[in-house]
């Protein structure tokens, strides 16, 4: 009997080890090329995307800022650059204020400890971080509410305002009511500033060599805010001094605080410039800022006193950005720098240089078309130069005057243009070799 093997393999058609090795080598070779291309492409795409994101943020910032600067700040289209701006006295409505301060404020370090941080000298640090405040009235005009200023105001508070006739919106008048809890107005006070310092961030550059003292390198980052205080119609002749104290709980319209400071101690929930009559007899300046003060935030008697004394020394960024009227426009901001071009010049420069102010220790300066509130060293303001000097102002430092033309009286120097530079840092890609910093500059006539 012939043995028959149960399994008789036929001609083998599979791989040999050599074939496998060759195929594997080829696969590895091709995959290495593809992976390298993939890595390079990904890095290029990531870098472009990071730039695109920063560019998109900056586009929004620059467009918003340009619109604010282009709006009317004073009555009848009057502009700071008008050759006769100072000829007939200060503006009757509105104001324009620029602060360049050197205000130390507490920040939390990487170690968790709190120290005082001071912005670099704005007079010399053109490309570095500066503490700036831009504040002005913005009158948009027009009849299309879609282009108006907008702000969120909670319903209960706003209902009370209407009940007290602090705000008079006629039934069916939808010009000012955008949606539930959101209102709009063509007129508003607008402020741009860095802060708050409580959210100050020190970003650690982990892959960078340490400093000479062994501490890790870091970047100081800030947040950029835009404050909008709407101006809404007020019923003429309303007498807020008769309002019941208890009913004021939950709101703090600045007008109320003027009439009865005790009301303001209850809750600083909202801040409105209720009066739009422009000639309020309660105001010692013919503008609405007298009714709403930047310093207003927390409910303390001391600050209420500040409210009624409109001559505030400066805009305190430490207290900013705590109200519902402050919109966070951008975080991871490296700097928000403002330069101005004075009349007779074609160069942008820090405010102190533009106004030909005497040199100060820290280059801080303030320009305001109206107020003259004097210096306040405690807040880093060593010179507050107003455009219009109010007699008997305590501590007032008159703005340097220049000879008037054609025999006119000496007058303050005009500011004809402004240049604002915003610089953003991309923390999402901070560990990448191609870290991204991006800046945008807005130039506008004043």
């Amino acid at each position: 009997m012939r043995y028959q093997a149960p399994f008789q393999p036929s001609r083998r058609l599979g791989f040999t080890i050599v074939e496998l090795l060759v195929a594997l080598a080829l696969v590895l070779f091709i995959m290495s090329i593809i992976s390298q291309v993939f890595v390079d492409s990904s890095e290029a795409f990531r870098s472009q995307r990071a730039k695109a994101e920063l560019s998109e943020k900056l586009r929004f910032l620059t467009q918003t800022l340009r619109a604010d600067l282009r709006s009317n700040h004073f009555e009848a289209g009057r502009r700071l650059s008008d050759s006769d701006f100072w000829s007939d006295g200060p503006p009757q409505v509105g104001y324009f204020r620029l602060e360049q301060t050197n205000l130390p404020f507490p920040v939390t370090n990487l170690s968790g400890s709190e120290t005082l941080y001071t912005f670099p000298n704005p007079a010399i640090a053109q490309n570095q971080v500066q503490s700036q405040l831009l504040a002005f009235t913005s009158f948009l005009g027009g009849k299309d509410p879609r282009g108006f200023h907008s702000a969120s105001i909670p319903s209960p508070q706003f209902d009370l305002l209407k009940q007290w006739k602090m705000v008079n919106l006629a039934p069916g008048d939808t010009r000012y009511e955008e949606s539930l809890d959101t209102y709009q107005s063509p007129d508003a006070e607008v402020a741009w500033f860095l802060g708050p310092t409580s959210d100050y961030q020190e970003f650690l550059l982990q892959d960078e060599p340490s400093n000479l003292d062994g501490t890790p390198q870091s970047v100081k980052l800030f947040k950029l805010y835009r404050r909008v205080w709407l101006m809404l119609p007020q019923e003429l002749g309303s007498n807020t001094s008769t309002l019941p104290l208890g009913a004021a709980s939950g709101i703090l319209p600045s007008k109320i605080s003027m009439v009865n400071p005790l009301l303001a101690t209850l809750n600083p929930g909202i801040q409105l410039n209720g009066d739009t009559s422009l000639q309020d007899p309660n105001c010692d300046v013919p503008m609405r800022r007298a009714l709403g003060n930047f310093h207003l935030r927390s409910a303390t008697i001391a600050q209420v006193a500040d409210i009624n004394s409109w001559r505030q020394p400066c805009f305190d960024v430490r207290n900013a950005a705590q109200t519902g009227q402050d919109a966070l426009l951008a975080d991871n901001v490296l700097s928000f720098s403002v330069e101005v071009c004075p009349e007779g010049s074609t160069q942008f420069m820090p405010l102190a240089n533009a106004l030909a102010l005497p040199p100060t220790a820290n280059g801080a300066a303030v320009f305001d078309t109206w107020s003259n509130r004097g210096p306040n060293p405690a807040k880093g303001i060593t010179a507050d130069f107003s455009g219009w000097n109010i007699p008997n102002s305590p501590g007032a430092i008159p703005m340097p005057l220049i000879p008037g033309q054609l025999g006119e009286a000496p007058r303050p120097r005009r500011l004809v243009a402004i240049r604002v530079t915003i610089r953003l840092f991309d923390t999402n890609n901070a560990l990448s070799p191609s870290k991204t910093t991006w800046q945008a500059t807005v130039v506008e006539p004043l």
Partner: protein, 290 residues
């Protein structure tokens, strides 16, 4: 009992073909990355150019560039008698290019006027018409030491009056250039030698720049081709057209030194005179703003 059929494996050739096909597929997908990156870069460039145009418009107001243009146009108006019909027609186009003029370039030899008084601009003129944002930064966010602010974007202005005797009808276009060398000047406008070509209805046919006596390119590495901008300066009446820009979609040699250009859109009217606006990134219509 095991009686399996003979197993047929893959040959090396089949494996290689598979790998090849897979590689083609991978590479096809990978090409999307640079394409997307290019799109993103273009969007970024558009953002920056728009910002430059906005700042250039502000600079024109602040420094009185419009007034300079008005002076130039007044000089065109002054010698005309009161009844001259040309007073009611559009004015000549004024090209105001502070960066170019200060680099020593002369006026464009075409239909443009050069306003007087440009040499009164201050020494820091470039800050106003050249982007100040194109800088490189260290990893800590500070500008690189010693690095001069970039000059990637620059702007020039075209002015004209819709009606020569009406100063209020002054219109303004802002041209934003990218990568234009500062010494380039007004030579960025390169006259084109047009060839009559009835078959090319979507563009123009020209003598290739730099040949047969045609004006050469604006630089040794400059090539008239896809994405180049052509400005139509054909005469509608006595004055050149206004706001007629076309972007080249394709450029094809159709004869000896003969270049056929196809535009992004069909010209509204036959083009009889045109210039190549080299380095132009985009143009912005600023209307009759004061």
């Amino acid at each position: 009992m095991l009686n399996s059929a003979p197993r047929k494996g893959l040959t090396l050739l089949e494996v290689l073909i598979t790998i090849f096909v897979m590689a083609i597929g991978f590479l096809s997908v990978l090409t999307l990355f640079p394409l997307a990156a290019r799109k993103l870069a273009r969007a970024i460039d558009s953002d920056r150019a728009t910002l430059m145009a906005g700042n250039a418009a502000a600079s024109a107001t602040i420094l009185g560039f419009r007034d300079m243009a008005q002076v130039a146009l007044n000089s065109e108006l002054a010698p005309l008698p009161p009844q001259d019909p040309r007073r009611l027609q559009p004015s000549t186009v004024v090209h105001l290019d502070p960066a170019g003029v200060f680099s020593g370039a002369g006026t464009f030899a075409g239909s443009f006027l050069l306003p007087a008084g440009l040499n009164q601009l201050p020494a820091n003129w470039r800050e106003w018409v050249v982007s100040q944002d194109e800088m490189r930064f260290e990893s800590n966010g500070l500008p690189e030491a010693g690095f001069r602010r970039g000059e990637r974007y620059s702007a020039s202005y075209l002015f004209r009056r819709r009606q020569l005797n009406d100063p209020d009808s002054l219109e303004c276009l802002i041209l934003v250039f990218t990568g234009r060398p500062i010494e380039f000047g007004n030579n960025a406008f390169i006259p084109l030698n047009l060839i009559n070509d009835p078959t090319n209805i979507g563009g123009i046919t020209i003598t290739e720049p730099g040949t047969n006596g045609a004006p050469g390119p604006s630089g040794p590495d400059r090539v008239l081709g896809r994405s180049s901008w052509i400005m139509d300066l054909s005469q509608d009446g006595p004055k050149p057209r206004w706001k007629k820009f076309y972007q080249v979609q394709s450029a094809e040699l159709t004869g000896v030194n003969q270049l056929s250009l196809t535009f992004d859109r069909t010209p509204e009217a036959p083009i009889t005179n045109a210039v190549w606006v080299d380095f132009l990134f985009d143009w912005f219509d600023r209307g009759t703003l004061p």
